[in-house]
Symmetry: C3
Subunit: 313 residues, 3 copies
C-alpha cells in the first residue's frame, strides 16, 4: 500500500508520497518501509530515533519527528492504527511451500500442517493439532492432541505443549469509538517459545500486536494460564495453574507465579521474584523477593496484616 | 409425550389428560403444548400469565394457576423437572438435511459439520472445528482450529472465535437428592452470538437450560472466560481474560469486566459499569460506575479501604 | 533396567545388585521390583513398611530401611527421582492390540483411538476426540468434540465430558538445580473417573505422578477447572467454574467448591464442606461447614470481618 493511499484511507491530508509501506511497527522496532504511530505521550521520546518511513501522530507532535520521516496527522492515532491494521493482517493461508518434516517425526493423520511449516526431527505432532502457515518447530518437540499454533510462531527444541493449548491467538486489543464501539487492532506479531519449555493443558498465549510474545528457555507453564500479547516470560520462570499476565508485562528470569495469581499490563517483574498464590501485581517490582496479596505487598507484611485483621474479630 | 404419561412418570396423581407435550420452558416463555414449573416462590407471580399447558408445582400453589392450565403436583418440583428434562434432551445428531455452505466459505477437511447446519458466505471453518446439528452461522465468520459449537446455536456475521473455545456446552444445573446425589437438569437451550463479536481462545459459553444464552453485538471476550447458562452479555461489553459469569446474570451494554473478575448468578449489572480486575459481584448493580473488590464497592472506597489497611501495619 | 545400572546412572556408589527394576512408586504403594524414594522427611515413617526393592534416600536415613531393601544413597533424592523418571516414561503409542469398541458406540471419523483401548457400549465419541493407549471407557459415555484422554486413564459408565477438556495431562512436577533450572519429573500415573461423573468444557485434570488422580462417582465439575496430580475428588462433590486444586489434595464426599475458589496442595478437606466462591484453602479442613475468604475462615466470621472493614471507611 502506498503512503498516499494510507493517508487518504485514514483521512490525513497533505500526504502525496508514493513510497510503498510494507508493514506497521512500534517506533522503536520499525524499519524503513514501515509505518509507526504515537498514541501515548509516554513514548514521545522514541520519536527522535525511529527508523519508520512515516508516523501517525497528533499534529502537535509532528515537529518532533526526525527529518525524512513523514507525518500522518490524526486526532485519534490509535483508532487510525486499528483501522489500518486490517490492511496488513495476513490470511490464515498464504504460502505455496509444502511443509518440511524432519526425520523420525510422527505426524498423526488428523493433524493439519499448513504450507510454509518446517518441523525438525523426532517430533510427535498428535491428532487434531493445527500448525499454522510458516510456523517453525525445532527437534524433539511434542504437541499433544488439539494444540493449535497460529501462523508465524516459532517453537524451539525439546518443547512439550499439552492438549488443547493455543499458541498465537490474537491479543486483546481494540480502539474505542465515541459511541462505545470497539475497532479491532489486528494482531500481526507472533509467539516465540524457546528451548526446553513445557506448557500445560488448555493454556492460551496470545501473539504480539507487533513483534513477538516470548516464553524464554526452560520456563514451565501449567494448565489454564493466560499470557497476553507482547509479554516476555523470563528464563526458567514458573507459572502455576490459572495464573495470568495482561499484555506487555515482562517477567525476569526465575520468577515464580503461584496459582491464580496475575499481573496487570506493561509491568516489569524483577528476576527471582516469587508471587504467592492469588497475588495480584499492579506496579512493577524492582527487587526480587516474596510477595502476596492484592494489592501486592511483601509476603511478611501480608502475614502481619492478616494477623491484625484476625484481631478485629 | 402425553401429559398423563408425564404425570405417571413423575408420580403426580390425578392427571389423565392426553394432550401431547412437546417441550419444557419457564413460566414466562412457555407456549401452548409446553410444560413449565414453579420451584422458587419468587416466580409465583408469573403463574398467572403463563401460556404453558401444564405446570409442575407444589399442591399448595395449584390454585394460583389460570383456568385451563393443568397442575402436576410435586413435593419437589425442581427434581421433577430434572427427571423430566432427560426426555426432552435432543441427541447430538437428529437431522437428515445436508449442511448448506455459502459461496467463498472454506471448510478445512478435518472440520466436522453436522446435518441441518447453514453457514453463510466467505467464512473460514478451520481444522478440527465442530459445528453441531442445526447450527446457523452468518457471513464472514472465522472459527479457528478446534472450536466446538454445540447443536442449535446461532452465530451472526463477522464473528471471530479463537482456537479451542466452546459454544453451547451444557450449563451446570442439577437437582439434589436427600442423599446428596445430583440429578442432571438437561440443558435444552442454545447460545446466540450476535454480529461483530470476537471471542478469545479456550473460552466456554454454556447453552441455556431453556431459551438462549446471548452475547450481544459488538461484544469482545478474551481468553479462558466462563459464561454460565442463560447469561446475557450486553452490546459492546468487554470481558478480560479469566473473568466469569455464573448463570442467568445480565450485563447491560458497554460493561467492562477486568481480568479474573466474576459475577454471581441471577444479577443485573447496569450499562456502562466497569468492574476492576479481580472484583467479585454478589449483588445487582443499578448504577453504572467503577467498582472494585470482593465484596464489591465503589473503586474510590476500595482505594480508601486499602489505605486504611496499610495504616494497620 | 537393572538396579546397578540405575545406581550408576544416578551416581550412587556401592550398588552392584542385578535385580530388574520395573517401575517407580511411592514408599507406601511400591511393590517388589519397584524403586521408591525419600525426599521429604515427613514420609520417613513409611520407610519401615515399604515393599520396594530399593529406595533412593539420603545416606543418613539408609539405616531406617527394612532388611532386604537396598539403599541408593543420594544427596538430592528428588533430583535423582526426576532424572530416573524419564527412563520409566511410556511413549504415547506402545500397544499392538487393536481397540475394542462396544455395541451401539458411535465413533466420529476424526476421533483418534489408540491401540489397547476398550470402549463399552452405547458411547458417543465425537469429532476430534483423542483416546490414548490402553484407555478403558465404560458404557453410555459421551466424549464431546476435541476431548483428549491421555494413555492409561480409566473412565467409568455414564460419564459426560464436555468439549475441549483434557484428562490425564502431565502433572506439574520438577526438581530444581542449584542454577535454577527445572528437571521434569515424568508423570507416569493416570486418572480414574468413576461412574456418573460430568465434566464441563475446557477443564484440565492432570494424571498422577505415580498411582492415580481420582474423580469419584457422581461428582460434577464445571468448566475451566484445574485438578492437579494425585488429587482425589470425593463422591458427589461439586466444583464450580474456574476453581482449582493443587496437587495431592483430597476432597471428602459432597464437598462444594464455589466459582474461582482453590485449595493448595497436600490438604484434606472434610466431607460436606462448602467453600464459598473465591475462597482459598491453605490448611486442611477437619470439620464440614461453610467457609469463605483468603485466608480461609468460617463464613460467619468472614461476614463479620467484612462488616468491621466497612466501618473503617
Amino acid at each position: 500500500m502506498k503512503l498516499y493511499e494510507i493517508a487518504k484511507f485514514l483521512g490525513c491530508s497533505g500526504v502525496e508520497d508514493t513510497i510503498e509501506i510494507i508493514g506497521m511497527n512500534t517506533l522503536r522496532e520499525a524499519r524503513s518501509g514501515e509505518i509507526s504511530f504515537l498514541s501515548d505521550s509516554k513514548y514521545e521520546k522514541e520519536l527522535d530515533g525511529t527508523k519508520a518511513s512515516a508516523v501517525i501522530l497528533p499534529a502537535s507532535k509532528a515537529h518532533l519527528l526526525p527529518s525524512g520521516v513523514i507525518a500522518l496527522e490524526s486526532d485519534e492515532p490509535y483508532m487510525s492504527v486499528a483501522l489500518l491494521s486490517k490492511h496488513f493482517a495476513k490470511p490464515v493461508q498464504s504460502s505455496n511451500i509444502e511443509p518440511v518434516i524432519g526425520d523420525g517425526t510422527l505426524v498423526y493423520p488428523t493433524a493439519h500442517i499448513e504450507n510454509g511449516v518446517k518441523i525438525g526431527s523426532n517430533c510427535t505432532i498428535m491428532s487434531g493439532v493445527y500448525v499454522g502457515t510458516d510456523v517453525l518447530i525445532g527437534d524433539d518437540v511434542i504437541l499433544y492432541p488439539n494444540v493449535a499454533v497460529y501462523r508465524d510462531c516459532i517453537i524451539g527444541s525439546r518443547v512439550r505443549i499439552h492438549a488443547g493449548s493455543v499458541i498465537g491467538s490474537d491479543g486483546f486489543g481494540y480502539a474505542h469509538t465515541k459511541m462505545g464501539e470497539h475497532v479491532k487492532l489486528y494482531q500481526n506479531g507472533n509467539v516465540i517459545i524457546e528451548n526446553d519449555v513445557e506448557i500445560g493443558a488448555n493454556t492460551a498465549i496470545d501473539c504480539a500486536v507487533f513483534g513477538s510474545t516470548i516464553i524464554k528457555h526452560g520456563s514451565k507453564l501449567d494448565n489454564l494460564i493466560q499470557i497476553g500479547h507482547n509479554c516476555v516470560v523470563g528464563e526458567h520462570s514458573i507459572m502455576v495453574s490459572q495464573s495470568g499476565l495482561a499484555g506487555s508485562t515482562i517477567l525476569g528470569r526465575n520468577v515464580v507465579m503461584g496459582g491464580q495469581s496475575a499481573a496487570a499490563g506493561h509491568l516489569n517483574i524483577a528476576p527471582f521474584t516469587t508471587l504467592a498464590a492469588r497475588s495480584g501485581v499492579t506496579k512493577s517490582i524492582t527487587k526480587g523477593g516474596v510477595y502476596s496479596g492484592f494489592p501486592l505487598m511483601e509476603h511478611k507484611l501480608w502475614l502481619k496484616l492478616q494477623a491484625k485483621l484476625a484481631k478485629l474479630l
